[in-house]
Symmetry: C2
Subunit: 431 residues, 2 copies
């Protein structure tokens, strides 16, 4: 088998076999096939696409290039969720304890943030003492004991994907749906879960800008997961504005705590409950979707979910007392942003809001950047809100950098006009 | 300017500017842009094409990556010809002396053979003593003195093209008409000639298998040459069977001498005279195309062309006496191939005939292979010939290798049937 023949085959629009896909992923991971041949192949895939089977073989080959997590020591159905990345997306922080409080096994490995989107692991580290690196053995026994653990990725998960992603980034082949789908799924399939809900964000703050592309990506990922034997659901949810009000690591923990105490913002609750209901059914804890939603809402109201969150924090070494007043986790230095206009908020460009938080130090522009856990911003208005001139529209929690830039980004990101817009948050469900 | 933006632009089907093309060729030649980005760009070009202007800028950028030959010390109009590569193509050996005998300045740098096609420089080296490496100064003064010199490429001509071609070869992006055209033209534009005739071969023994592709390539190369200020003509000529009868280095010199003495095979004479007539007009030595053809045919018949060939050989140190009986230049060991059938020759697969000669040692499979100058084959039959069973159809001139393989290739390459086919040699002229 020769890589140049595989390139020519894909270039000519033919379907690659499992053997051919295994060959090039193995050869590339081992350094036997050079970057310049793989980048030509990636560009050929950009133009000629891959079908469901090819994308599945690619995801499996990348999964098998590294370590997979074995969760078989946890009895029952293990669930996982994945978001394609949004601004203010703290769903995992709420969903995990919420599901665990209802008896679901939530054994999650999460990532750090990069670019304008945050990462669950960074957010959890804003709780003093919270340990995100723990041995796999302890991770599993914690899930068996309290039903939940959230840790950073351990081991060498899908190194082929890491290598391929770095190459795509510099060869203009990132925006290729089969490559995005197999990249995400290679890591999800390594996570050991039996049922997976994918939260595919769509809108100007998301990777997928159009609903058409988001549907294609969602369908392909669901197809890959099913071919690999997983229970799969994908939701298309809007990223037309940030999720909730708070953006930044400790700020998002703060808003998660509010939500776990039944005081969450409507959009965050809606997405969390929707995802949770699918997973309650997948985990065979409930069989009726509407009943499942009611159970989830009740667990947010009656303190069960928050209680589980405190158990999680305690089990991973976090200071539970620090959560009694989570405002103390935020930077003391704040800056109010006042509206320069009066009217209805018609648009909040989530991408630019995410960038504003990043400039303040809440996120990383490159992998090596330091993150300030206590900075970020609190949006007081959402799409459809009415705002008066001079009224505060956002509060910045700052340290020493990016304040003016963030302020300008936020003012430019918010469109104020005459129309009282309503937006649809959950756009489609793909099974 | 960032290479990843240039890749994305071409990927999206947009037209690259001269600056962008200069940027990536310069960056690649200097090693500042890595192979893996250029190979992604090449694949994007494969799918999105380049227009005439882009292909011209590419050819010029590659020309300017290295040395160009300055022929300004030769008064008058300098001409050049280029063949896209055929089997048995010894046109340059005949055309050069023929044109020079009529007063045209023929200052040619030629290449060596690779694969199933031969190279003029290897062929000339089969004449004992013939020097193909001479200083540029002497090359120019020889042309001024006797009207002709044929030498190997000197200097570092179009290094960007060499680098790019090597990359195309391993990334399945060779068959890309704008890349083929700009590759050929980068070297032609470096050759210093004012008028160029391109002999674009089409058929199963040629790089271009269909007339449609050959026309596209021809039109693009003519367009590039004109935009660069050259007088351009492209002929589409058939490579449905080898040109002439003899294939192999000394064998082709032998057939060239026969042709220069008015005893040449019909197809070789036809192509040579056609190309020559265009160049006689371009060089402003004759103004009527049909008259030019008659003058060329006369110079083949009356010894003028052969006389000029002898001058060329002598001027470059070759042994003129060795040409009195050119049969002495051939291997003494011969093998006759007898026809296994009776009927008309309906097809001679030129590619396989070229491979047969290569297996005997007449050509190189890789750049480092040694070439036997005295081996090859003499085809006694052409398409349309009648052959009896047991009659010799070819004579192999051999040393110690490839005999059985060559024999089988030749028997398989020749189709014998009931139809007396006629083929059209000169298919189109593109100005």
């Amino acid at each position: 088998m020769h890589i140049v023949d595989i390139i020519a085959k894909k270039r000519d629009g033919k379907v690659l076999t499992k053997n051919e896909i295994d060959f090039f992923i193995k050869g590339y991971t081992e350094g036997k096939i050079p970057d310049y041949q793989i980048s030509a192949l990636l560009m050929a895939i950009y133009f000629q696409n891959m079908n469901d089977e090819e994308s599945t073989y690619l995801a499996l080959a990348m999964r098998d290039s590294g370590d997979s997590i074995d969760l078989s020591d946890i009895p029952g159905i293990k669930v996982d969720k994945h978001s394609t990345g949004g601004v203010g997306d703290k769903v995992t922080l709420v969903l995990g304890p919420l599901l665990a409080s209802l008896g679901v096994k939530f054994a999650k490995m999460s990532g750090r943030g990069l670019g304008h989107t945050g990462g669950t692991i960074d957010k959890l580290e804003s709780i003093p003492g919270f340990k995100v690196v723990i041995p796999v053995k302890d991770f599993i026994s914690q899930v068996n004991k309290i039903g939940i653990s959230i840790v950073g990725q351990s081991g060498d998960v899908a190194p082929a994907d890491k290598k391929l992603y770095a190459l795509r980034d510099v060869t203009a082949t990132v925006d290729t749906i089969p490559l995005i789908a197999s990249s995400i799924m290679s890591k999800k399939l390594a996570s050991g879960a039996d049922a997976i809900v994918l939260d595919v964000k769509v809108g100007h703050g998301a990777f997928m800008k159009t609903e058409e592309d988001a549907v294609k990506l969602a369908q392909l990922m669901v197809g890959i997961g099913k071919l690999a034997g997983k229970k799969m659901t994908a939701l298309l949810t809007g990223m037309d504005e940030p999720l909730g009000h708070k953006i930044g690591n400790a700020l998002e923990v703060y808003e998660a705590i509010e939500t776990l105490n039944g005081q969450g913002p409507k959009d965050l609750v809606e997405v969390t409950v929707e995802i949770g209901a699918h997973l309650l059914l997948d985990a065979q804890i409930e069989s009726d979707f509407e009943v499942a939603k009611i159970q989830l809402q009740e667990a947010l109201q009656n303190g069960m979910a928050y209680q589980k969150f405190l158990e999680l924090v305690e089990a991973q070494g976090g200071d539970v007392n620090s959560l009694l007043d989570p405002g103390l986790l935020l930077s003391k230095k704040t800056v109010e942003i006042l509206s320069e206009k009066e009217g209805f908020v018609m648009d909040i460009n989530a991408l630019d809001i995410g960038k504003a938080a990043m400039r303040l130090g809440a996120g990383r522009e490159t992998k090596d950047d330091e993150v300030y856990l206590d900075v970020g911003l609190d949006l007081h208005k959402k799409i459809g809100s009415f705002v008066k001139k001079g009224e505060p529209i956002a509060t910045l929690y700052v340290r020493d950098k990016g304040i003016d830039e963030a302020k300008q980004l936020i003012l430019d990101a918010i469109t104020i006009g005459k129309e009282e817009k309503k937006i649809v948050l959950i756009k489609q469900t793909i099974k």
